[in-house]
């Protein structure tokens, strides 16, 4: 039977979420309710493409469309929502043999490409995959592919073992932070706003701007708290000095936004407490997205001795002229930099 792509609508929400749930590539941001929020705040139009063979779901991919000047741009994930990876989700992927995985991935991508280029025909298209490792069908389909990296902690080991794997200096730093009276506690909606304000202040000191709107975080909080989102704050002498917004989906916990520059080693303690919380609550993985690809930030996480996992970024231009124009439109804001850093 033919494989077919179509745009999902609200009546498909349940099917969509079932695909996301069944796939190792699904993240909390792939869920229907999150996509709607991402659409609203990224000022893009959402094309949730669902791929089926008859009634059997094959996969899905959320695409976000934006027109800049006369350029048609298509993204997954969309810009300015602090989500570095999204991309394709293949249903039931883990249970398949390699041969089947490959033929499904190739068919899926071919069908999505046909849909994209017959209905939207973008000048520029960029996908950053959440955890699919196999980029070959993109390469064979004419995309430029580049590896990207995430750090992940496997929480199957005993907590003592995870602790003992951390670099010696870092363990001392964490203890030192505790001795200095720095502490971490779970926070609420107001605490999240405080973390956001700190982020804005720190960025301003560096002459940078936070592109993520406050209302966006509040809406995410209201949609996801408490099962899929938690806030942790670091306190010192009665003040909140840093914090982290973490998200949870299936077996995985992930650091999302936070780690504001604070007094020394406060964030090391914060990272450790967040990992511990995920461990204590039965999560199998703790993922840190974004920093592994950032030359300035990577070492702040690698000292905890996580595993490195590779995924990819795929780009495609409709022509070399559109490549040139896209470069100009994007000016100094490199999409690659942005997906790697948030």
């Amino acid at each position: 039977m033919e494989i077919e792509s179509r745009i999902a609508d609200d009546s498909d929400a349940e099917l969509w979420d079932r695909i996301v749930e069944s796939s190792p590539h699904g993240t909390v941001f792939h869920t229907w309710k999150c996509l709607k929020i991402l659409e609203k705040y990224s000022k893009t139009k959402l094309y949730p493409v669902i791929v089926q063979r008859g009634i059997e779901p094959v996969g899905c991919i959320p695409l976000f469309y934006q027109k800049k000047l006369w350029m048609k741009l298509l993204f997954s994930p969309p810009p300015h929502v602090a989500i570095p990876r999204l991309g394709p989700v293949l249903a039931g992927y883990d249970g398949l043999k390699q041969h089947k995985r490959e033929s499904i991935t190739i068919e899926f991508q071919k069908s999505v490409d046909e849909f994209i280029f017959s209905s939207i025909n973008p000048d520029y298209l960029v996908l950053s995959s959440a955890s699919l490792q196999d980029s070959r069908c993109y390469k064979w389909g004419g995309y430029d592919v580049e590896p990207t990296y995430n750090y992940i902690f496997c929480l199957n080991d005993e907590l003592d073992k995870i602790w003992s794997n951390i670099r010696k200096n870092t363990k001392q730093d964490i203890k030192r932070a505790q001795r200095r009276g720095i502490s971490v506690r779970e926070g609420n909606r107001e605490d999240m706003l405080r973390v956001y304000e700190l982020l804005v202040e720190r960025y301003a000191e560096q002459g940078r701007k936070v592109h993520v709107p406050k209302d966006y975080l509040l809406e995410m909080y209201d949609a996801l708290y408490p099962y899929n989102l938690r806030v942790f704050v670091v306190e010192h002498e009665g003040n909140v000095i840093s914090g982290s917004i973490d998200v949870y989906f299936k077996h995985s916990a992930a650091a999302w936004i936070g780690n504001v520059k604070a007094v020394e080693h406060a964030n090391d303690l914060l990272d450790w407490e967040c990992i511990k919380w995920a461990y204590d609550n039965g999560f199998k993985y703790y993922r840190i997205t974004g920093t592994a690809g950032d030359r300035r930030l990577y070492s702040s996480n690698s000292k905890f001795n996580p595993d490195l996992v590779v995924t990819f970024l795929a780009e495609r231009y409709s022509s070399s002229i559109s490549k040139l124009i896209t470069d100009i439109v994007r000016k100094n804001v490199s999409v690659k930099r942005w997906v790697n850093k948030i």
């Binding site: 043999k97 390699q98 041969h99 490959e102 490792q133 196999d134 980029s135 070959r136 390469k139 064979w140 592919v145 580049e146 590896p147 990296y149 750090y151 794997n165 670099r167 592994a292 690809g293 030359r295 990577y298 070492s299 690698s302 000292k303 905890f304 001795n305 996580p306 595993d307 490195l308 590779v310 990819f312």
Partner: protein
């Protein structure tokens, strides 16, 4: 502490080979003996580079330098030498913690780049790293263009029966049919090496390639590495050789290195049976993986090779030009 780069000499052979063997991304191609054979059959100059931190060897990096007009260009591995992987081997990599893995590789790549671009004045460097060296960030951050490549590894740790069960059903039918039809697979010798080479050449010529004659190179590799690190499997049908392969054995991996092109026999696939016999041999001799080298990156070959239900392993191609102008010049000349 900074790293110091030295060019290895004959007195370093033991150290060199133990570095290669210390990490899972070390391959037979990285061994001193293999590199020296390549060196004997090419006009390129081999730089077997060793990186030291104080007294400690932290990695090796074999590079071949070619002179093109006024320029030097660097390859690791050298093209057209049946070498798929080369690039760095970092000492004891698998046992290092993540931050140590990163800092060592990054320092090593920086020093090697300095050596190649500043000291040897290379205009172009092409590296193809081996599977197991998962991290390509030192290349990306060093200004290389990086492309992920894929190969297939069959996990043998579950035992022969488990490996067989995991095969695609159609593949099992094909293998059984080959056995029923009377195809036999045996270990081969130097005579069979010639058969494999000439059938490869015939296939290439039919496709319009003009392969250079590598028979002395292959023969020297055979004399050096057979039988411990190099094995030949030959399939015969009604007294005639119809298929086969050369495999390499190194550490805990057996590699399908060179295969005989598909035979003209209708309805029988002697190569699938040869491969199955090689896999069984590897399994029974304590190897943990069987790699179908370079199988993952060709859309045509992928189809044949993924039937074995392998795992996907990533390796990288990384290229860097000394300047943008040289890059444009080179791409125009292409």
């Amino acid at each position: 502490m900074t790293l110091e780069i030295k060019v290895a000499g004959e007195s370093d052979v033991e150290k060199w080979n133990s570095a290669v063997a210390s990490s899972s991304h070390g391959t037979l191609f990285h061994t001193w003996e293999w590199l020296k054979i390549v060196q004997n059959h090419t006009s390129s100059v081999l730089y077997p580079l060793m990186a030291y931190r104080g007294e400690n060897l932290v990695g090796i990096y074999p590079v071949f330098i070619q002179k093109k007009g006024f320029f030097n260009i660097a390859f690791s591995p050298l093209p057209k030498a049946y070498l798929l992987y080369l690039g760095p081997v970092i000492m004891d990599y698998d046992n290092l913690k993540q931050n140590k893995k990163e800092s060592t590789f990054m320092q090593l790549q920086e020093e090697i780049d300095r050596f190649l671009f500043m000291k040897l004045k290379c205009k172009y460097v092409r590296i193809r790293s081996s599977p197991g060296l998962f991290d390509s960030r030192p290349f990306i951050w060093g200004g290389y263009q990086v492309e992920p490549l894929y190969t297939y590894r069959i996990n043998l740790t579950g035992g022969v029966d488990r490996v067989w069960e995991q095969f695609d059903r159609k593949l099992r039918v094909d293998i059984n049919r080959a056995i029923r039809e009377g195809v036999r697979v045996e270990e081969g010798n130097k005579e069979d090496l010639r058969f494999i080479r000439s059938s490869l050449y015939r296939r290439f010529e039919r496709q319009g390639f003009k392969p250079s004659d590598h028979s002395r190179y292959l023969s020297e590799l055979y004399d050096t590495f057979y039988p411990d690190n190099l094995k030949i499997f030959i399939a015969t049908y009604k007294g005639e050789k119809v298929g086969g392969m050369i495999s390499l054995c190194y550490r805990d991996i057996m590699y399908l290195w060179v295969g005989v092109p598909k035979s003209d026999l209708k309805g029988i696939s002697p190569n699938d049976l040869a491969q199955w016999e090689a896999i069984k041999w590897a399994c029974n001799n304590g190897y943990r993986y069987y790699e179908e080298m370079d199988g993952g990156d060709d859309p045509r070959l992928r189809h044949f090779k993924s039937k074995y239900n392998p795992e996907l392993a990533i390796w990288y191609s990384a290229v860097k030009y000394s300047s943008y102008i040289y890059k444009i010049a080179k791409e125009t000349v292409k």
